[in-house]
């Protein structure tokens, strides 16, 4: 998206300073912005910006509730093996094509002869097929939980990869300027030119053909790391530009000059002086990055360019389920609802984090 108006995503000022770095705290902030509560309360003198932000976030009950919902989803995902081994008594990739279960004294095929799988049973079958079966007779509830593990693992890991790489590139480009900046910025321009989904698809198809072999380490074509790396990589453009813009203005500040006068090296200035000042930007972006990564994983897997079967993820489950939409709608409804809930919880929580840390930030990631 080369045509984005320059500066629309950039921060003009350092937004938040760590209290351990006195040079950066008060002078650059507009006092009314930082010290006044959004509701127009009294200035709270002598409180650090992080504590203020924390207080503001704590007051936002809706955001907190959705943040808690996300944590709950992660915990549920982590407990997948517990449910699988002790309640449902089956694995995520175990077929039960010819099984017969007894419900209210009635015998039922898990998958009917015409290929239609059994619908949600609730607790009628002693914890088996709580959410029904798919066309291979696999337990949807078990797959949903293992799928949650994969979807959330990819979403969170990919966002960490994005954050690390984007901050590194943004720091390099913004700090050194000149040809380093030119190379990085033009590279990002070219990545921007690709629609995110198409770039993800292109990489997903070409990498799942034969995996990745870089000599030192190699990844199988069906490994979870392939979608993770792809999603981490395509997300960089979202974050690297705002970071670069912020570094460009931060590097002119007095505290950087002071560090330089003390003889600090470039690397020390970048990682000890500038990096702490970028933390709030990273925090503001992170929940939305995860939301976006989870959505992109689902879209890629839905199209067959992400997580490879039989490994479950919400996207692959949707892709398989949609073929049976008419006869077994639960295969579509259930994973999509989980996906929506996850992305919604991250979006609402992300909104709250942004309002608490920096209400002016324009965080907008495209799908």
């Amino acid at each position: 998206m080369a045509a984005l108006p320059a500066g629309s995503l950039f921060f003009e000022k350092p937004l938040m300073a760590t209290s351990s770095d006195p040079a950066t705290t008060i002078p650059d902030q507009d006092p009314s912005e930082i010290l006044t509560e959004p509701g127009g309360g009294k200035p709270a003198a002598g409180t650090g910006p992080w504590r203020l932000a924390g207080r503001r976030l704590r007051r936002n009950k809706v955001a907190l509730a959705f943040g808690a919902l996300f944590v709950l989803l992660v915990l549920v995902a982590l407990s997948a093996p517990l449910f699988a081994n002790h309640v449902a008594d089956t694995g995520p990739n175990t077929n039960h094509l010819s099984d017969v279960i007894t419900i209210d004294g009635e015998q039922k095929n898990v998958v009917e002869f015409d290929g239609v799988p059994i619908g949600p049973q609730g607790l009628a079958a002693d914890g088996r097929f709580v959410l029904g079966a798919d066309r291979n007779g696999r337990d949807v509830m078990v797959r949903l939980l293992y799928g949650a593990r994969n979807s959330l693992f990819i979403g969170i890991t990919a966002s960490i990869i994005t954050a690390v790489l984007a901050v590194f590139l943004g720091l390099l480009a913004g700090y050194f300027r000149g040809w380093v900046d030119a190379v990085i910025s033009r590279g990002l321009d070219i990545l921007w030119a690709f629609p995110v989904l198409l770039l993800g698809i292109a990489l997903g198809v070409s990498l799942s053909l034969g995996g990745l072999d870089l000599g030192i380490f190699s990844i199988e074509g069906n490994s979870l790391w392939i979608p993770t790396l792809i999603i981490g990589l395509v997300g960089i453009v979202y974050l690297a530009r705002p970071i670069r813009g912020q570094v460009l203005s931060l590097r002119e500040k007095e505290f950087v000059e002071a560090a330089r006068a003390q003889g600090a090296s470039d690397w020390r200035i970048m990682f000890k002086e500038l990096l702490p000042n970028l933390l709030s930007t990273i925090l503001v972006f992170f929940p939305v990055l995860v939301a976006n990564a989870v959505s992109l994983e689902a879209a890629l897997s839905f199209l067959g360019a992400g997580v490879q079967p039989p490994e479950p993820s919400w996207g692959t489950m949707l892709g398989e389920g949609i073929d049976l939409l008419i006869s077994a709608p639960h295969l579509t409804i259930v994973p999509g609802a989980m996906l929506t809930l996850t992305v919604l919880s991250l979006n609402v929580f992300g909104d709250g984090v942004r309002d608490a840390l920096d209400p002016r930030a324009k965080v907008r990631l495209e799908h």
Binding site: A3, G210, G211, I322
Partner: protein, 316 residues
């Protein structure tokens, strides 16, 4: 102005070239597999593989291969590996369907998004404002293919209000049939953007509604409706117009692909989805390339149009 246009065009040509190189590299250097082996299928002699490799030019220098691939893409001679169909013909067949979907959706989200944004801004703080804000967030968070599946199941299959997927051209069903088959996909694809736009318009209207010139308009006795539409909305729409062009190209390269697949519209996106399942490289390469080219060219045109409209942009 002329320098601005020339500068943008030169930058565009550079980006287009790099995009084509990167796309080529993604499909011809990254894969850790041999296309000739893939095409030959199972149980073949090495001679057959060697022959395919020669025939398709996989043994040539990488630069030559790049040139040949680009030539094939742009002269419309690119052939699929799997079923030996002409890829460019397939894309041309799907293009009107994809564009019908995207253009209709773009109009839908513009109209509904602006209306909702204005409505919520005027009622800021009331329960209807909160309700729309919550719905907008849910709309933003729903995967478009899931929403599409639910819509086609409940409104198409169960209620029978809409056709059960598929596409009708003008000649098949007239304009009525065309609209009838597209209306659900339009709304589904538009939902995400309706959520985004209503929030953008809401905050933009709230920013302007207290400006002095709005107070002046009220003071001179204009009706509230006229103040809102002629004075507030007009200025609040500037950020929306800027976003709209960009989002249109995003919808083409993103949501449209997924929406089409769900509604069986048989456009470019569905062709892409089918090619991914077959791991058929040429269609994926061509669609990625065309998609990125479309976006780069479209965005450059938008830039130039904006520069005409707003002289400040030229000076940046």
């Amino acid at each position: 102005m002329v320098t601005f246009v020339i500068r943008r065009l030169v930058a565009m040509v550079f980006v287009l070239f790099m995009v084509s190189v990167l796309t080529f590299l993604i499909f011809n250097v990254i894969p850790n597999s041999d296309p000739a082996v893939q095409m030959a299928g199972k149980n073949v002699t090495p001679q057959v593989v060697e022959q395919i490799r020669k025939e398709w030019g996989f043994d040539q220098n990488i630069v030559v291969q790049y040139g040949k691939t680009m030539q094939k893409v742009f002269t419309g001679e690119l052939i699929s590996y799997n079923n030996r169909v002409n890829v460019v013909e397939e894309i041309k067949r799907g293009a009107p369907r994809t564009f019908s979907l995207a253009i209709g959706a773009a109009l839908t989200w513009l109209v509904i998004g602006v209306a909702l944004g204005l409505f919520t801004a005027v009622r800021a703080g009331k329960w209807s404002d909160s309700l729309v804000t919550v719905l907008a967030l849910i709309g933003i968070s729903m995967p478009v293919f899931w929403l599409g599946a639910l819509a086609s199941y409940y409104l198409g299959y169960k209620a029978g209000i809409f056709p059960n997927g598929g596409y009708e051209t003008f000649s098949e069903g007239g304009i009525g049939g065309w609209v009838q088959h597209l209306i659900l996909p339009w709304v589904v694809l538009a939902t995400l953007f309706i959520g985004v736009y209503s929030r953008v318009v809401r905050s933009s209207v709230l920013d302007t509604i207290n400006d002095d010139y709005v107070r002046t308009a009220r003071a001179k006795g204009l009706s509230e409706r006229r103040v809102l539409v002629k004075h507030v909305l007009r200025n609040s729409l500037i950020p929306v117009v800027t976003l709209w062009g960009l989002d249109f190209s995003l919808a083409i390269g993103g949501g449209a692909i997924l929406t089409e697949t769900v509604f069986d519209l048989q456009g470019i996106g569905q062709y892409l989805a089918e090619s991914i399942r077959r791991l058929d490289v040429p269609p994926v390469l061509a669609i990625t390339l065309f998609g990125a080219f479309f976006i780069v060219i479209f965005n450059t045109l938008i830039d130039i149009v904006y520069a005409f409209l707003d002289p400040r942009i030229r000076l940046q």
